[in-house]
Every structure is written in structure tokens, then in C-alpha cells.
Point group: D2
Chain length 250, copies 4
């Protein structure tokens, strides 16, 4: 039976608590901000508690240290500092998780760091080093990116992420948010894409072609307009298609 994970990024201050809670009803994994681009010890604890209550697997969502730019500004940090910053953030979230009787299961970098890791071998290796040396973690990276190869080479347990609510360019990268049509806001369309990704491993590109993308997890952006209805449509359509929705970490 085909299985796929549904995930959201939480604890970023972008959503009201009620909406975060509603999303947690639908997804199987939650990536939680660790204070470097958003969040705080208090917000992290509250978000962990909400995830725990809904039986959702939690991952760390570390970022460059850049609250002002929400982690979206590229910082030319050397690899060693990237690894240290990732370990600091993962440990901090795990400390709070541990106090609640649970633990961080995976790491998904955020924003500019996520994008850099997708194309920059050295950056990807630094993140892999951090994840491997911490132990007992899966690394979640963009499907089809350099980071998948680097993680595989370095023996890091890796999972891949695809998006049902974002348009893809012909080369497999996400269409920039500023491009018209970059956000897929029609629930039925997002659901169709989700099923295509889960069953066939492919998704239409903006140029009319088709891209092959092996994804273990479908990420839904909580701040896409109508995010909740999109999530409901995706979940329902996946189940309709006989696809198991389950965490990518076992």
C-alpha cells in the first residue's frame, strides 16, 4: 500500500493557535520553529503540547539566526557554524520535548537555509553532520535536490519533501512566490497534485510538462489562503485514492 506523510510548519507566529490546532487534526508531522527565525521557548512548548495531544510526530525546523528576515535572507555562514546552529536549535527543541515525555524525530531546515542546502553540497554536508552526530534523527529535504545525494553519501537517514500547494518550475524547483500562480489555492487542484505526487511521483510544471519527484512527505503551508480547506481536501482525496497517510518516521 502506498503511504505518504502530511506535514505543516508550526510555531512560527504565522497562524492563530486555533488554526494550528485544526491543522494538527489533519497532518501526521509538524516542523516546529526553534527560536532563530521565529518562536520562543514558550511558543515551542505550547506547540509541542498541541502536537503531542494530536499524536503528531514532531521535527525541528532550524533556521539561520535571522528573526528580522524570518530566516529568508541568505547568510553566508561557514559550514561549521551552520552545523553548530542546527545542533543548538535541535537540542533546544528536544530539551522541551523531553520535558513533555516525547522527543524530536526529524530535522527540516527552514527558509534560506533549506534553499541553500538544496543546491550547496557543503551546506548540505554541514547539516548532515549535525543530524548524524546528534543521532536518532531523520533529515527532511527537498525531493530531487543535492541534499538527498549528500545525505545518502554520508549515511544520514533522509526523507524527501514535496509540495501540493505550490507550483513547480520545469527544472523541479518551486515557482517563486512572486510568480502569478505560484500558490495553488484551489483545494481540488491541490488534492489532485497530492495524489499525483503520492501515487505516480509526478506533478505538472508551469510550462505544461511533468516533473518526476519522489516525495515521502507532502508539506502544506499553513499560511496559504484557505490552508485548512486545502488540507482537508488533500487528506480526503489521498484516502479516497487508497493511500495511507502516515508519518515518514516510523
Amino acid at each position: 500500500m502506498v503511504s505518504v506523510d502530511l506535514s505543516v510548519d508550526l510555531g512560527e507566529g504565522a497562524l492563530p493557535a486555533a488554526q494550528e490546532s485544526a491543522l494538527l487534526e489533519l497532518v501526521t508531522s509538524a516542523s516546529i520553529a526553534c527560536g532563530f527565525h521565529a518562536g520562543s521557548p514558550s511558543v515551542m512548548r505550547l506547540t509541542l503540547e498541541a502536537a503531542l495531544e494530536h499524536g503528531v510526530v514532531v521535527g525541528a525546523h532550524p533556521s539561520y539566526p535571522d528573526r528580522e528576515g524570518f530566516g529568508r535572507v541568505e547568510l553566508a555562514l561557514p559550514p561549521a557554524r551552520i552545523a553548530e546552529d542546527v545542533l543548538y536549535q535541535v537540542g533546544a527543541l528536544d530539551g522541551l520535548a523531553r520535558s513533555l515525555g516525547t522527543s524530536v524525530r526529524y530535522v527540516k531546515p527552514h527558509g534560506a537555509l533549506y534553499n541553500r542546502m538544496a543546491v550547496d553540497h557543503e551546506c548540505a554536508a554541514a547539516v548532515c553532520d549535525a543530524v548524524r552526530s546528534y543521532g536518532a534523527l531523520v533529515l527532511l529535504v527537498p525531493a530531487g535536490s543535492v541534499a538527498v545525494d549528500v545525505a545518502t553519501e554520508l549515511g544520514v537517514d533522509v526523507a524527501t519533501e514535496v509540495f501540493a500547494d505550490r507550483a513547480y518550475l520545469a527544472d523541479g524547483r518551486l515557482a517563486p512566490r512572486t510568480m502569478p500562480g505560484a500558490l495553488v489555492t484551489e483545494p481540488a487542484e491541490a488534492a489532485r497534485r497530492a495524489v499525483g505526487l503520492a501515487v505516480d511521483g509526478c506533478v505538472p510544471a508551469v510550462d505544461g510538462g511533468t516533473i518526476e519527484l519522489e516525495g515521502n512527505s507532502i508539506c502544506l503551508h499553513g499560511d496559504t489562503p484557505g490552508a485548512l480547506r486545502i488540507a482537508e481536501a488533500v487528506l480526503s482525496e489521498l484516502r479516497e485514492a487508497g493511500i495511507e497517510v502516515a508519518p515518514f518516521v516510523s
Copy 2:
């Protein structure tokens, strides 16, 4: 055989790396700043590596979030936030420690938080909650303070700290740094005090009297003038007196 621990606070940017390294030759425990009053992921990793190299036990040295005031300003944070901030910092340091194959063994709050915990039952309980829920940690607190009682009540593994390079008031509190004679800078005098604390559990007060203080760990301030010579004298005198110098965590 009587046994006592010798400790220093490190990774606070107060000492050149060479001097931190020299102190690590002499002590048995090191309390490492976690980024809230001083330190950074990079400095924390370097300090952990140095401690590891010298076989010194490492503890977390969490603080109020106050880099500007070096954690010395009293912040009226509610207990829940104190617990969250402590867990975040302990986890962050432990994440870096874990990547180096070691782990944080104890927690010693810093500055204004350390002082508040010594007298404020609610604050002490918040720190104890954090330490207990994290698990596998000892809490290091001022000898003779409220925090000892609170930790004992709450079933938290607790150790007590005394100072050989600082004068004590008649009521058992440290003489404020601004008081003449507050710093004990004469190595022989500090060594004498250390032996008195370790063997007899008492130390002279500024008023000429004697204070009883049960201490498991003698803290040496790395930034006291002549800190290294003081540490050498204390260590040598303790050994001369037949006292074992060993970590307070086993």
C-alpha cells in the same frame, strides 16, 4: 575520605581561551554559558571540546535572556517562562554535547537567576521542574539556600556550591562585589578557606564570626585577579589536606 568538586564558569567570553584551558587542567567540573547571557553555539562547542579533552564534567549554566546585562539584571519572569528558558538552554548545550559523544550532567543557573532561586521558592521550584522533567541531571545551587530545601522537597538530585575566592556576610550570603574585601585574591587565603569548607564545612564571615556551609562543589571565579594561581593553591592545599578532588556528579 572527604571529597569535594572544584568548578569554574566557562564560555562566558570573560577569559582568553588559553586561560580557560589552564583552568580546565585544575578543576573537575565546568559550567558552560548557553547563549542567553553569553556564549554562542560556536563558543559552546569549543568550550565543550576543551572540557572533554581535559576529562572535566560539564554542566549547563542557563540565565535570564539578557546579554546586555550579562544575566545580572533581575527579570520578573513568571515561573513557567523560567522553566521553559532553562529547558531550552540545557537542551541546546546538550545537543552540542551529544554531537561530541558526551552529555550535560548538571545545571547551575547564572547571575540574577541564581540569586533569585536562592531566596524565591517559586523560582526555585520552576528550575527544579525543568531539571527533573529533563531527567538525568543534578541541580547545583548555593549552599544553605532556599533552593536546597525546594529541590529536596521536589525530589530533585541536588548539590551545593560554596566559594573560596569570595567573602561571606554573617547571614551566609556572598558579600557584594562592591564591598571592600569581597574578592579573596590571596591564593593562600583562598586555599585556607577551601580546606575549611571541605573539611569542616565552615568559613569565616566578614564580621569575624564563622558560617557553617555544606558544599559539594567549590566554585572558583575565572575572572578573579590571579585566578589561575588561586586555583593552583586551592587544589594543592586540598590534596595536601588529604581531600579528594572529584566531580560531584558520579
Copy 3:
């Protein structure tokens, strides 16, 4: 003719830009966050531009350095640091204002600093020193507070602030937000209070009595439920009562 100022606190990330803009249509003064509890250089510039567009007088809204606690946590900072922090923030906002061809006209401390200044002579004097040494500024403080006396003694140009959307205790302080009825959310009631404050200099207290409060400026909280309708009712009722609504700085 009786005259009173209407003001709001802006640039704190608490309101959508459209709502800030709508409030700027109604008020005569805007107190802008300076980055220490909320805001950023970008947000400050945008808020200044919006205020300028609406012909609203701008003031600085400096805070303790406490983004995590939104400036609401009491920090035991020494007076000298308070004065330095205020000057830094006022200057920073004024730098951005200057680049837009305008300037900061007044200073109204935020949160815990505002509350401390209301009762702590030393703190009020530190803020007064900062305001006076900067020059060409009015200090806006709680009506009936210690800060009014201190500013007068020290020769600082001072204006007083009252609230139409908050309940008052019998001793003249604001009812804590946690007390039932602390927020006045009924537009007609807030308008009635505003007129009473402007015309008679008095307002009902929670115990049924009446408090005398000389206020030059009526502050409306942008985040009170229904803030916009409250502001509209207050403005309309003040005009109906023949009261001029005009900035307190000339």
C-alpha cells in the same frame, strides 16, 4: 475651547496594516515602537510613512529591551541604562523620521517601563534626563502619576495620558487586564468616558466612585476588540460635545 489629543500605539505588530491605517484616519498622535519590544527599522519606516500621510504627530514608544515579553516584564535596570536605552530608541526612530522629512515630537515609554515610571521617582528622572538632553520633545506619562511631578521638577515639557477604553481602580491606576470589565469594549461607554475625561477631567472607578484625572491625550488601544468602532464613537462624541481634537504637541 477645550482641546484633547487622541492617540494610538502603532508599529507593534499587533494590528494588520489596514487597521493601523484606519486608526490613523481618526487619531491625532501615534506612538511608534522602536525595536526593543516590537518593531524593526522596516516597520518603523512604514509606520512613519503612514502617520505622515495622515498628518498625524509621531512620538517614540521606547521600551525595556524585551521582545520575548513584549516589554511587559519588569527589568531591574539601573537608571543610567534606562536613559541610554531611551536615547538610543528615540534617536533611531528620529533618524528614520528625519529621512522622511519629519521628526519625532514626543516620547511615551511602553509597558513595564511606563508602569515603573509612574511610581518610581528614580526611573522617571532617568527618562526625564533622556528626554530633556535630547531636546525639543514632550514626555507623555500617565495622568496623576509620580512621573508628572518629576518631569515638572526637572523642567521637562510634560503631557498626561488617560484611557477611555480601560477601567480605572479607585486609586487612579488602571484595572489589571485580567480583572473582569477591565476592557471597555462598548463604543458608547468609551465615548462617554472620553467626554467626561476631556470636559470634566474625571472618570468613574470600578468601585462606583469618581476619579479626577487631568489628561492631555486620550489613548485608544488598537488591540481592544472593536477598536475601530470605539475610536469612531469617541471622536464623534468628542466633536459633538464641542471639544477640539488636536495634537497635544503644538
Copy 4:
């Protein structure tokens, strides 16, 4: 009569107060950190007071927001944010200066921002916009860089900076700190270079050739080993050569 300015970067936490004070005896301008890479309101005020006491002209030394990396990490900030960040920092320092009866006279960007401005037209234009819209300021930039041309085009009052204690590459850029011989630590050699720069507008390059550089200000790094003796030698040799040492701002 040939005239040149001698400057240092201060308030960065790199030097003991006594050494900053000794340098202020020798130089004519001081560029003061504004809190984004180093410094704080307290340190800024102390540094301003020291400069004022020595009759030294003060400039703002704004940076990317990056305390962790001391402003040396390249941040891909958009031009609008650079301008806003510069205005915030200049205003903040000027606010403290104003409280002391003086004012900021020039702006010299720091670290990665200084380097980017030297080669990136758009970045230089953003800094120029900030400086021009603030008014009454001179912009200090690397001699021979893109920033000189941009400032001239945009009508910004500009001055140029050269270095007597650093080696130059054949293309006119500074030799990276990691290159052997990058730091000129021999006082006589630094003094010879200073005179060459001031009188002939040229300096030897590492390849044996000569570079022409028109500099209005010679910057001395306070953290170069033997900085004080270098500064003394430079000052004495410049005077010996009949060169007036005076601020570049009039």
C-alpha cells in the same frame, strides 16, 4: 599644506577602555559601533564621552544586524532594508551624541557591509540614500571603490579611506587577513606607508608594484598587534613630513 585624517574604529569591545583612550589621544576621527555588530547604548555613550573629551570627531559605524558574526558575514539584505538599518543606527548614535551636546558627523559602514558597498552599486546607492536623507553627514568609503563613484553621482558628500597597517593587493583591494604579511605590524613601515599615502597618494602592493589611492582618512586598526606604537609612529612621521593631521569633516 597637505592634510590627512587619522581614524580608528571604537566601541566594538575589541580593546580595553584604557587603550581606546590612548588611541583617542592620537587620532582625529572615531567610528563608533551602533549595536548591530557590537556595542550597546551604554558602550556607545561611554565611547562618545571619551571621544568628546579628546576633541575627536565622531562617526557612526553601522553594520548588518549580526552580533554573532561581528558583522563580517555577508547578508543578502535588499537595498531598502540596508538603508533602513543604516538610518536606525545613525539615528541611535546621534540620539546619544545629542544628549551629550555633540553630533554624529560622518558614516562609515562596517565589515561585510563596507566590503559589499565597495563593489555593489545597488548597496552603495542604498547607503548613500540613507546618508543623504539624514542630512549633514559625510560618507566614508574605501578609496578607489565603486562607492566613491556612486556617492559622487548621487551628490552625497564623500570621503575616502586608506589603510597604513594593512597590505594591499595589486588590484587595490586589501590583502585578506589570512594572507601572510597582510598586517603591517612594524611601526616604521606603517608610518612610511602613511606618508606615502598622504603625500603621493600611493602605496606598495604585495606584488612589488605601486597602487594609486586618494585617501582623505588613514584608518588604524586598534586591534593590530602594537596598535598604539603604530599610531604614534604614523602620527609623528606625518608631522615630520609636514603633513597636517586634521579631521576630514570640517
